[in-house]
């Protein structure tokens, strides 16, 4: 609000609002939250590892060396080798790229479905809304990820299929949230003003409603990355996702299962990798939620 604007707010807004604005205060509070900061740092590092994977890998992650199979950690192979003599560390590093990309692509797909559905349902309301929300109810009638499992099973094994299967059930929650936000935004005065100015319905949605809905949704989505990585690696673990020789963490765990007794490192490291990344996203997510929650802001 500009300094000279008439005071329409009855209660005095907290000082930090006036001084630094909502976004900056959220960032400040996020940085102040040590756990969230830790999450942010780990996420940034992991993304960096994913991007720089080809330069960080000590070996070719796909190169089979049968004379080196199941070898313990050594100078040449810092984490040892798998049942085909492939460098475990290189596979883990390359797996970062595979796991992050798949989850990010799934997230984009989810957004591409849920944003139009949620917006249309919320904005048009009435029968369209009713119909779309019943569809949401129906998809929610399947227990957690079972529909994704079944869809992936029908489509056949493959990383792309798993991604599509997960996205095809995951959008539902988002569509609901987006619908709710659109419902509240469309009653705002600036929407009425735009309508009074003769802006077309499409223009209102595009220029006034979506910009107000998108940023919280994108934040929400980032929080979900951890859960998405878990879901996708879980399906890969079952053998539905990445197919050999692609190094994906869930699939690597699955490959290492028969060697649990002789080479437990094949299980330990991919699992740890999944857990650390998911934990980092969860820490960041928790922090972001607190930082953006207006009730927390008012509490100071």
């Amino acid at each position: 609000m500009p300094a000279g604007a008439p005071a329409r707010v009855v209660a005095e807004p907290p000082k930090e609002f006036v001084e630094e604005g909502l976004m900056r205060s959220a960032v400040r509070r996020l940085v102040g939250d040590k756990l969230a900061l830790l999450g942010l740092i780990i996420v940034a590092l992991v993304v960096l590892v994913g991007i720089l994977a080809p330069y960080l890998m000590p070996h070719d992650p796909l190169k089979v060396a049968l004379d080196q199979r199941l070898s313990p950690p050594s100078r040449a192979y810092p984490l040892g080798t798998d049942h085909l003599g492939r460098c475990l560390l290189s596979r883990l590093i390359y797996g970062t790229r595979v796991s992050l990309t798949t989850a990010a692509l799934a997230l984009v797909t989810i957004m591409l479905i849920s944003i139009p559905v949620g917006t249309v349902a919320g904005y048009l309301g009435g029968r369209v809304d009713n119909l779309l929300m019943r569809l949401v109810d129906i998809l929610l009638a399947f227990p957690d990820l079972i529909l994704a499992l079944v869809i992936a099973g029908m489509l056949g094994p493959g990383l792309l299929n798993v991604m599509l299967a997960v996205a095809s059930v995951w959008w539902v929650g988002y569509a609901r949230v987006i619908r709710g936000m659109v419902l509240s935004v469309k009653e705002k005065e600036f929407v009425l003003a735009a309508r009074a100015c003769g802006t077309s319905e499409f223009g209102i949605v595009l220029r006034h409603i979506l910009p107000n809905v998108l940023s919280p949704v994108i934040v929400l989505a980032t929080l979900d990355m951890g859960k998405l990585i878990l879901a996708i690696s879980g399906l890969s673990f079952l053998g539905l996702g990445a197919q050999p020789p692609t190094p994906e963490w869930g699939a690597m765990l699955n490959d290492g299962r028969p060697y649990l007794q002789v080479a437990p490192q094949l299980m330990v490291y991919p699992g740890l990798a999944i857990m650390i990344v998911v934990l980092a996203f969860n820490l960041l997510g928790d922090g972001l939620r607190d930082a953006l929650d207006p009730r927390e802001i008012l509490k100071g």
Binding site: D144, L147, V150, I151, G153, M154, L260, V278
Partner: protein, 312 residues
């Protein structure tokens, strides 16, 4: 209460109808012609004549609504077709394995409640103390820990190294421990946090202050006044967790070679046994919907605001 029950039941019809349409449509996701798939599964070379004959026999040339109607009618009579792999009726295959899955899920629910209820309540009572922080860390770990990894690590530690529990299969109570802990732990972490916030909300209510002001013993205030009200919303979450556990049971059953429906479904996926996959989806949805209905009814009975609705 009667109106509540009726409303809840009426609402089920469109949902179950939708579920059946989705399940029926699943077969269209499979690459290739269903008749061809059936022939291949039976080990027959799918010549054009054979495919055409089977299509006619199965009524695949009829309009989709006729096929759906017939499929639905059969499904309502518990006829979900025959498994390509075993040749036995799908419903029979699923029903014979469901007790194992139910046993695992209920045991995991038990683990969840045993861990989460004390943790959640103590975390709320000792807010911001060491115990609360510990429960937060456990919750974060629990939500980030891949269930399949936890299972494998438990097997490595308790079966391979220490030899306390059997590695896999179903049998006595000691067979059940590791799978139930694997399945229940992650949910317990989440549940404990939800219970904590529910408890905190209740502890801030006027009637708690009133109870304390009346000089009631703290144990009585917590046990009699706070806990009862904090557990009420937890009942709904109980239903939700049941769904999560059913979903998670697929992976846990696969790791521990637990002879339940989930493992059967995964095996069927790799054998392209489509009728079983379809039947599994439908069956799980029905179980989940029924479980949620029961939870809602329990909630209705426990909450006097709903129980007494319409009496005044």
């Amino acid at each position: 209460m009667k109106r509540y029950l009726l409303k809840r039941l009426l609402y089920l019809f469109p949902v179950m109808l939708g579920v059946s349409i989705i399940t029926f449509g699943l077969i269209n996701l499979a690459p290739g012609d269903p008749a061809e798939l059936i022939l291949r599964a039976g080990g027959v070379e799918p010549t054009r004549e054979a495919v055409e004959a089977l299509r006619r026999e199965l009524g695949l040339n009829e309009p989709v609504y006729v096929r759906y109607g017939r499929w639905l009618w059969d499904a309502l009579h518990l006829d979900l077709g025959k498994s390509f792999r075993t040749g036995r009726p799908v419903a029979e295959e699923i029903f014979s394995r469901f007790p194992a899955t139910l046993e695992l899920t209920v045991a995991a629910l038990g683990v969840m409640v045993l861990l989460a209820v004390p943790a959640g309540i103590l975390a709320a009572l000792y807010r911001h103390a060491l115990l609360d922080h510990l429960s937060r860390i456990c919750a974060l770990l629990g939500a980030s820990l891949p269930g399949f990894w936890l299972g494998l690590m438990l097997i490595y530690l308790f079966s391979v190294k220490l030899g306390i529990f059997p590695v896999m299969g179903r049998g006595g109570l000691n067979h059940l421990v590791l799978p139930a802990v694997t399945l229940g732990f992650g949910m317990a972490a989440v549940y404990a946090r939800l219970l904590r916030s529910g408890m905190l909300e209740v502890l801030g209510q006027e009637y708690i202050k009133a109870a304390r002001a009346r000089g009631l013993h703290e144990r009585w205030v917590i046990g009699r006044h706070a806990l009862k009200n904090a557990l009420l919303p937890a009942v709904t979450l109980f239903g939700m967790s049941f769904g999560h556990l059913l979903g998670g049971s697929v992976i846990v059953e696969t790791i521990f070679a637990w002879p339940g429906v989930g493992k059967f479904a995964v095996d069927s996926i790799f054998n392209r046994d489509y009728p079983v996959i379809q039947g599994y989806a439908l069956f799980m949805a029905v179980v989940f919907v029924v479980a949620n209905l029961m939870v809602d009814l329990a909630y209705g009975l426990l909450d006097p605001r709903i129980r007494l609705e319409g009496r005044r």
